[in-house]
């Protein structure tokens, strides 16, 4: 039976009308619009700040926002990351190997009108050490300050900071300590986490969680008014969306641009890719304590000879990486041209394996956290491919970062894992202390007492030339007895709008006080 023939006209009319009406009809209350406009710069990052408390966070993305509201005593120089510029401190001098005196800037005030002075510095040091009256636990940033003893107020503009042992990384550590006003922890911790009250170049306008942070410049900032009046940090988790926003001109600066997208950005006419060597050094950690084959230094040398790192840099990283001989790139303290990387020599690798008693190679596993390090999975696969050519069958296990973190914290790792160590101190000492020094509690699966001596000596040597020489000796030692398969330092790639004057920093900080708009 045929169905009756009904007129489709009303339906067609409804269809067209619906298409026109549906979207506008669906819109109601929302927040203020944001676009890159004449005096506004929009920065897109992959994550929203986790808090406005600068001492209770450890993410670069959060620090990038908070450095605009709060100031540190010193900040790393943009062009030369080994040097420091005074921000809240005007000068500093060493009184003894464990005591450094800082002279503070006068007349600096927080947003609420309270004064910045020496007592305020002591308050901040006490807080990160968990020593404030009634304070139960220290804030997250505490791990960087475990060697600090305390601060002594000399007068309102002079303070002495004391460490337990000589600390060559003192200034580097202080550059990450953004100063909060006295009393803010006890007054209202929730306010501290939600609304910044700093001495920095910008003040908060709005913070719409998981969306954006809007800030405006302080015309009376003590280092001069910022040249960019309004800055918006947008949370854009998706790589493709960040790239599209840059190409569309709705954002001015994006970080973590994948190497494969560089030419796309450069040909857009809207923006250009800028890269800077990163302080993140990649290596394959070798479990030399629990894996019988890896106990022999010759085997670990063989693994280093077996991997063609330069080709990985060229093919996987599109050239956006820098080969390192060990864990020290040229812009770190202790770098020396005389320390040469293992060359690619598969024949030598095979010989060394044979001498070590593994003429037919062996099998091992490598753990890689998914999505944690730029192209980490691909790098690991490439390393595995090269090792296969000399008879070492490496199975790559790609795991969630949570699983990776748990495995490393509980020290239940396979024979190896791939990781990138972000070294904000521009010195290999911190990584060496945590990942090379003999230990069964840290991040180290390696032990060599003579290497320990060199690391401990470098970690307590204040004289830079002497420290550099010790680091060079340490590097030579860990080339003979390698704890890792050494790979490279990443290069950070940014997409930068053509209307923005901005120089990328090696320490991954995005600081708009240093930027300006063209024209």
């Amino acid at each position: 039976m045929k169905p009756p023939r009904l007129s489709p006209r009303p339906v067609a009319v409804a269809l067209v009308a619906g298409a026109i009406l549906a979207v506008p009809a669906a819109s109601f209350g929302r927040d203020a619009g944001t676009r890159a406009t004449a005096n506004t710069v929009v920065v897109a990052q992959s994550v929203d700040p986790t808090t406005m408390d600068p001492q209770n966070q450890r993410e670069t993305t959060t620090f990038n926002v908070l450095i605009h509201f709060y100031d540190p005593l010193v900040l790393r120089n943009t062009k030369n990351p080994k040097k420091f510029d005074g921000i809240l401190a005007t000068k500093w001098r060493s009184l003894s190997p464990t005591k450094t005196q800082f002279t503070l800037r006068k007349g600096v005030k927080y947003d609420d009108g309270s004064a910045f002075d020496a007592a305020n510095v002591k308050y901040n040091i006490d807080r990160v050490l968990g020593k404030l009256p009634g304070q139960k636990t220290p804030p997250l940033i505490n791990f960087q300050f475990t060697d600090f003893k305390g601060a002594t107020v000399v007068n309102p503009t002079t303070v002495i900071i004391q460490t337990k042992s000589p600390d060559p990384l003192l200034l580097a550590r202080l550059s990450s300590l953004l100063m909060i006003p006295t009393g803010s922890v006890t007054k209202d911790p929730n306010a501290l986490a939600a609304k910044p009250n700093g001495t920095g170049p910008y003040t908060l306008v709005t913070w719409d969680r998981n969306n954006q942070v809007v800030m405006k410049a302080k015309p009376n900032y003590f280092r001069g008014a910022p040249r960019i009046t309004n800055v918006i940090f947008k949370d854009m988790p998706d790589d493709a969306s960040r790239l599209a926003a840059l190409q569309a001109g709705s954002v001015d600066l994006i970080s973590n641009l994948p190497p494969a997208n560089v030419s796309q950005v450069n040909s857009s006419g809207q923006a250009a890719a800028r890269s800077v060597p990163s302080a993140r050094i990649t290596s394959v950690w070798l479990n030399t304590l629990d894996t019988p084959q890896l106990k022999k230094p010759a085997v670990r040398q063989a693994l280093n000879y077996a991997v063609d790192v330069n080709t990985i840099i060229k093919k996987v990283m599109n050239g956006y990486a820098l080969r390192t001989a060990t864990i020290v790139p040229p812009y770190f303290f202790g770098y020396s041209k005389s320390v040469k990387p293992f060359g690619y020599n598969p024949d030598k690798a095979k010989r060394l394996l044979k001498q070590a008693g593994f003429p037919n190679g062996f099998s091992m596993k490598m753990m890689v956290p998914a999505g944690r390090y730029l192209l980490g999975e691909q790098i690991a696969q490439a390393v595995s491919g090269y090792l296969g050519k000399v008879g070492v069958k490496m199975k790559v296990d790609i795991v969630d970062f949570g699983v990776f973190a748990k495995a490393t914290q509980t020290r239940k790792i396979p024979a190896s894992f791939f990781a990138g160590w972000g070294e904000s101190f521009f010195s290999p000492i911190d990584e060496a202390q945590v990942a090379i020094l003999c230990g069964t509690k840290g991040f180290s699966w390696y032990c060599n007492k003579s290497v320990d001596k060199l690391i401990n000596s470098a970690a307590t040597t204040i004289n830079q030339a002497k420290q550099d020489a010790t680091i060079v000796k340490m590097q030579r030692a860990i080339l003979k007895d390698p704890p890792f398969i050494y790979l490279f330092a990443y290069k950070d790639i940014y997409g930068v709008s053509k209307r923005l004057n901005w120089t990328p920093r090696t320490d991954e900080t995005i600081y708009m006080d240093e930027a300006s708009l063209k024209g």
Binding site: P3, P4, L6, S7, P8, P10, V11, A12, A14, L15, G18, A19, L21, A22, V23, P24, A26, S27, G29, R30, D31, G33, V47, D48, T50, T51, D53, R58, L140, F143, T146, A193, A194, D208, R209, N210, N211, K234, D235, M236, P237, D238, A240, S241, A244, A245, Q247, A248, G249, S250, F401, G402, A405, K406, W421, D430, Q433, A435, G442, F443
Partner: protein
């Protein structure tokens, strides 16, 4: 009748209680948030202090009883990632998700129903084949792919719409269209099959035969009967949309519950994961309860069956 309501209410409470148990256990099975909060080089003493501060060193049953006790008083704990009250964090993301869900559903209904009717009216002809082909393609297309295409076309090339964020009415268009595709296809298909099954019915032919106008027959006799399953499907789609559209929200940087949930899961932010799950579950359970009560009052068959049971 009173016993029926009471029984359904008790069932809802039991469902929610079981859910708290499941969410609590699953969140903790994924590992400890402290592993992710502190860097690899953090001293063990800081790790121990933080575990203690968060109360994660207590046995699970103790943690659960505390969680349940606080939750009953409306306190779902502090977010370890965002350092704020978990419940207020989740609630602050709900409006964005509601807005997106309603917009998407509106598009799906306003376009899906007429498309389904059109296909049914022209069943077996070119219009039907064309419509069903487009719908099949829509269903097969991954939402992230459609989202990227829309962004590149409307956002980057034509620059008509913002590529992301929740920053004005125009920013709603692309995420709402992306999110509407799946419910649109479902609604259109159900409408097509339901209307097709109603069209050959005797009462439709009778209505035609007694000289009613064609669109009166369509609206009064065909759609009134044919749209009942569509209403059910639309209700289900609404529930799904309200629970957050993870991929769409992430690609379009839409600050809704879905995106918050992903961040919370990645950071093992127990309090936020628990809050999101319980709030969404409560909404869905409450909606189901409401529907049950409405059915009870609207459909005499249910009333009779309940009376028979009693």
């Amino acid at each position: 009748m009173g016993r029926y309501f009471l029984r359904r209410l008790l069932q809802a409470v039991v469902v929610l209680w079981l859910l708290t148990l499941i969410v609590f256990a699953i969140a903790r099975l994924s590992g400890n948030p402290v592993d992710l909060l502190l860097p690899q080089g953090a001293p063990p003493s800081q790790r121990v202090a933080l575990v203690h501060q968060l109360g994660l060193d207590q046995p699970w049953p103790v943690q659960y009883v505390k969680f349940l006790g606080n939750a009953l008083q409306g306190d779902f704990g502090q977010s370890v990632r965002f350092h704020t009250s978990a419940i207020s964090l989740v609630l602050s993301h709900v409006p964005a998700t509601f807005e997106l869900a309603i917009a998407a559903l509106l598009i799906a209904v306003v376009l899906g129903i007429p498309l389904g009717i059109l296909a049914a009216l022209f069943r077996g002809r070119a219009v039907d084949y064309g419509t069903t082909t487009v719908l099949t393609l829509g269903q097969a297309m991954p939402s992230f792919w459609l989202a990227i295409l829309l962004i590149l076309w409307l956002g980057v090339d034509l620059r008509w719409l913002p590529v992301g964020g929740r920053s004005g009415m125009d920013s709603l268009i692309m995420p709402a269209v992306t999110l509407s595709i799946v419910p649109l296809v479902t609604i259109a298909r159900i409408t097509r099959s339901s209307v097709s099954s109603v069209l050959p019915q005797d009462y439709v032919r009778t209505a035609e035969a007694k000289g009613l106008r064609r669109h009166t027959v369509l609206v009064r006799h065909v759609l009134r009967n044919g749209l009942i399953p569509v209403v059910t499907v639309t209700g289900i789609a609404m529930g799904q949309l309200l629970s957050g559209a993870v991929i769409t929200e992430q690609i379009f940087t839409w600050p809704g519950v879905g995106w918050l949930t992903i961040q919370a899961i990645e950071a093992r932010d127990y309090a936020v994961v628990q809050s999101v799950t319980l709030i969404v579950a409560t909404i869905i359970v409450a909606l189901n309860l409401l529907v049950d009560f409405l059915y009870f009052s609207l459909d005499p068959r249910i009333r009779e069956s309940q009376a028979a049971l009693a």
